[in-house]
């Protein structure tokens, strides 16, 4: 049975070779945090890291991913949503419907690793994901906050966080 290295563990799967990596992650491995949006690499909701490179998994045949290539999905980005991007996202209340945000966060995490102090132009180039709710300005602010060590004050949003409350 073929195998993938996902979030640090080898995982066997059963799928035809031309099955996109996205659907192996979602349907064979139960990792549904990575989303289907378009199926043609336009929207970025399916973004995962492949050996650290942000990759649109909806057009990547699983047979082209080697068993030792390291795949990281949103579920494996951190153990407890503690990646600087995730923390900044939380502080600035970035998600609206949230469906595109896994891909947004994965793209942002790759950007921050490649460019710890991204300029606006860097953000424009790297963040080509589509968000229909329109969270773009908060995404930008959160990337900047993460780059500055997590200080959300620069965004000027003044959001009051109360520990414990949840849906």
């Amino acid at each position: 049975m073929p195998s993938l290295n996902v979030n640090g563990s080898p995982r066997d799967f059963d799928a035809e070779p031309d099955t996109p990596l996205l659907w192996v992650l979602r349907e064979q491995l139960g990792l549904t945090g990575t989303k289907y949006g378009c199926g043609i690499a336009q929207c970025g909701a399916c973004t995962v890291h492949l050996d650290g490179v942000p990759t649109r998994s909806c057009v990547r045949p699983v047979s082209t991913v080697g068993p030792d290539e390291k795949i990281v999905t949103i579920e494996g980005l951190s153990r407890d949503a503690s990646h600087p991007a995730q923390k900044a996202w939380a502080l600035l209340d970035v998600p609206q419907c949230g469906y595109c945000q896994s891909g947004m966060i994965m793209a942002a995490a790759a950007l921050l690793k490649a460019k710890p102090r991204p300029t606006d132009a860097d953000i424009d180039d790297a963040m080509t994901n589509i968000c229909r709710c329109g969270t773009y300005n908060r995404v930008r602010a959160a990337i900047k906050a993460a780059a500055q060590g997590g200080d959300p004050k620069s965004a000027g949003l003044n959001i009051q966080h109360v520990e414990g409350s949840a849906s």
Partner: protein
């Protein structure tokens, strides 16, 4: 239990009631779950409030959360009156089946028209206030003191005279047994402690780590997956298909007709179902609409611009006579195309049809992201042929709604039809993006001819707006058409009043509609008819100002003296934007205002256009007066988001028709705004009190006309038909 179905919170909630769950399957058997949840474990104070012994306060929310934040806002309103500890607040969705059994205890579930808060603030606050009164009474009864002597803060009840204190969790069981008070007073918004505050959303955590379960993520034991293809031509039918050709494809379980017009493949995984469907030979009967194209539709609408018959939406004076005698008349024709909602998550639902057995009646359950649980419930009953009492709908969080998931539940009808053919097996149906793009419920297509009469001094004396085109109600709720008139067509143009009223006083005014309904099905699309009506009116008013050599802001102000709320937001946006003050070289301003969904909104856009025609939107300043602001930071998020949606449509959107079908199939042919094009947005939230307006939609309508007016200021080019991508802004 949790409204938003993450595995973590579901297990935590279930554990508290002793229910053992082997899978993360919310509500897999609601009856068993209820039987295993003794009321004593979590006393329900009333329909809205449950207080658990560990002091957790569960607030029930009937309206759906689709990103707009009203789950948090409505909880703030209940908690405000309840005086509970916000840190202990959780939320849950009641189900439509429970609502039916309890005579609609939670009121309307519909989440559209920006009505989540504005149409339920009163009864949800009363729910909180009633619960507080009962909890205080329970403590007072226990202490044998008058309830009026007891105080509560963050769920801790105290009686100062005796120095005693207790908590909501400790008195909840006793409170649940009390009769509710006949009436309760609500707090004056100026005394709000939780409502009105910039609180963080309640539903963020699961959206950061992939744990949030959306409809398309749901997995039930034994579940199969379905892909579907509907006839590409609206009104066409499925003629035949060759199931044998794909019978040997991996994972395929069933190939079946769905209704008159669709075919579905059911397989073990969705990817296998979709792959097999792509290979399935299908013959369509494309029906009477198979030759219709966009030019045909445009010609039909154009004829309506001068048709003698039209339904009048707003009129005063005698516009036709005043136009005939005006010193000068100006005329322009505008148009606005079909738009797809293009929610990030495509349409999907899971259904399980359980036949009658062993004395138990048949049952049909549906799990789906929906903006209206009650409508999804009705669709389930209709499609299954079962009484509503034998159906249930479990709402899942929406990956975008924007109106697509509210009025019409076509995908629910489909999934129930499939599940009925596979009794006992849960089936999840997911639409491909291509299916979603070509089988939407589209923003209506209209054209508008505007004629203005001006006196010798350039004052507006008469205005006739003739709208020609599609009626949403005719396609969705035809029973609401009155005497041939669809009142929703006139959003933003209504006579003075509390809803979507025009902001200008014109001595002779006529606004009428010649209904022309193409075969493409219409739907409510974020902002609805306010989108194009505001473009038509606000761009035309801009034309009048320029034609008479008047400042666009000053020209508007003269017409708005009897419309102080409209004028106040216009002035606020202009002031914050620095209207009239110098701009960097090459940057130009445009302005627009309107009123809709109960709120007053205005915007100023700053743009530049390069010689090669490339547009850059630098900044948009928006002002909104929604009456009351329940969570200002979420209002700001909605304003920004609405601009992305509105500008995506105006700049790039537009669905065209060829051979009876929609031509755009994905985000490559239906492009949307990306981050690199996103302007800075500054939002002035200016609640003036005394009314409750909506937030999710109104501001969408002012983004496009403000930008289009700024483009005219920059280039002298007046864009009258959208999207903008069809025009060149080159000046060199």
């Amino acid at each position: 239990m949790s409204a938003v179905l993450s595995r973590r919170s579901f297990l935590a909630g279930s554990g508290a009631t002793g229910l053992v769950v082997a899978f993360h399957i919310p509500f897999i058997d609601e009856a068993a779950a209820q039987a295993a949840t003794p009321a004593a474990a979590a006393p329900e104070i009333n329909a809205w409030v449950v207080v658990q012994p560990d002091e957790t306060v569960v607030i029930r929310i009937a309206r759906s959360e689709m990103g707009q934040g009203s789950l948090t806002g409505l909880a703030q309103l209940v908690a405000e009156e309840l005086d509970c500890d916000w840190a202990r607040v959780k939320t849950e969705y009641p189900t439509p089946g429970q609502s039916l059994a309890r005579k609609r205890a939670w009121g309307n579930f519909s989440t559209g028209g920006s009505r989540g808060i504005r149409e339920s603030h009163d009864y949800v606050r009363k729910g909180g206030a009633t619960a507080r009164t009962m909890l205080l009474q329970a403590a007072a009864d226990d202490w044998k003191v008058p309830a009026a002597e007891c105080r509560v803060d963050k769920g801790v009840i105290t009686h100062a005279a005796s120095g005693r204190s207790t908590t909501y969790g400790k008195v909840a069981l006793a409170a649940a047994r009390l009769a509710p008070p006949a009436d309760v007073a609500l707090r004056d918004p100026k005394d709000w402690k939780l409502a009105g505050k910039r609180l963080a959303r309640l539903d963020t955590r699961g959206k950061l780590d992939g744990s949030q379960v959306y409809g398309s993520d749901l997995k039930l034991p034994g579940m199969l997956n379905a892909a579907i293809r509907d006839c590409p031509v609206f009104g066409g039918k499925l003629a035949s298909f060759d199931a044998a050709a794909i019978a040997n494809k991996p994972g395929v379980k069933k190939v079946l007709r769905v209704g008159d017009s669709a075919v579905a493949v059911v397989a073990d995984t969705w990817w296998r179902a979709k792959s097999a469907l792509d290979a399935l030979p299908v013959v369509w009967d494309e029906g009477p609409n198979a030759k219709i194209g966009s030019a045909d539709i445009a010609a039909t609408l154009k004829a309506g611009l001068d048709a003698p018959e039209a339904a009048v939406g707003n009129a005063n004076g005698d516009a036709r006579a005043a136009l005939a005698s005006a010193a000068r008349t100006i005329e322009a024709v505008y148009s606005y195309p079909f738009q797809n909602h293009a929610t990030m998550e495509t349409m999907n639902a899971t259904a399980k049809f359980t036949p009658a057995a062993g004395g138990a009646p048949a049952r049909c359950e549906v799990w789906t992201p929906t903006q209206n649980g009650e409508a999804a419930h009705a669709a389930t009953a209709e499609a299954s042929g079962l009484p509503a009492s034998q159906c249930e709908v479990y709402k899942l969080l929406l990956g975008g709604g924007f109106g697509r998931r509210g009025a019409v539940h076509d995908w629910v009808h489909q999934v129930v039809a499939i599940a009925k053919e596979m009794p006992g097996t849960p089936v999840k149906l997911i639409w491909s993006r291509e299916e979603d793009m070509t089988h939407g419920r589209y923003h209506p297509i209209t054209q508008c001819k505007l004629r203005a009469g001006l006196d010798a001094k350039g004052n507006l004396t008469a205005l006739h707006m003739r709208i020609s085109g599609q009626s949403i109600l005719a396609g969705v709720f035809p029973q609401n058409i009155r005497d041939g008139k669809d009142p929703v067509v006139f959003q933003g143009l209504n006579a003075p009043g509390p809803e979507a009223s025009i902001g200008y006083g014109v001595p002779n005014l006529l606004i009428d509609h010649a209904m022309r309904n193409p075969h493409v099905p219409p739907g409510f699309w974020r902002g609805v008819n306010l989108n194009q009506n505001t473009i038509y009116l606000e761009c035309f008013v801009d034309e009048l100002a320029h034609a008479t050599k008047q400042d666009p802001l000053a020209f508007r102000r003269k017409l708005m003296t009897a419309h102080p709320k409209h004028l106040a937001v216009l002035n606020a946006a202009a002031e914050r934007a620095g209207w009239g003050k110098p701009l960097p070289k090459g940057v130009y301003r445009g302005i627009a205002q309107t009123m809709g969904f109960g709120s007053y909104v205005a915007a100023v856009a700053e743009v530049s256009v390069a010689k090669d025609g490339k547009l850059k939107i630098h900044r948009i300043v928006a002002a909104t007066d929604p009456g009351y602001a329940v969570n200002p930071q979420q209002i700001e998020a909605q304003v920004e988001g609405s601009f992305v949606y509105g500008l995506s449509a105006a700049l790039y959107g537009g669905c065209t028709v060829k051979d009876g079908r929609i031509e755009q199939t994905n985000f490559d042919s239906y492009p949307v705004l990306h981050m690199d094009e996103m302007p800075k947005v500054e939002t002035v939230v200016m609640p003036s009190g005394g009314f409750w307006g909506g937030v999710g939609e109104p501001t969408i309508a002012v983004a496009a006309p403000a930008v289009l007016n700024a483009i005219f200021a920059a280039t002298g080019k007046r864009i009258r038909d959208l999207p903008l991508k069809n025009h060149s802004l080159k000046t060199a």
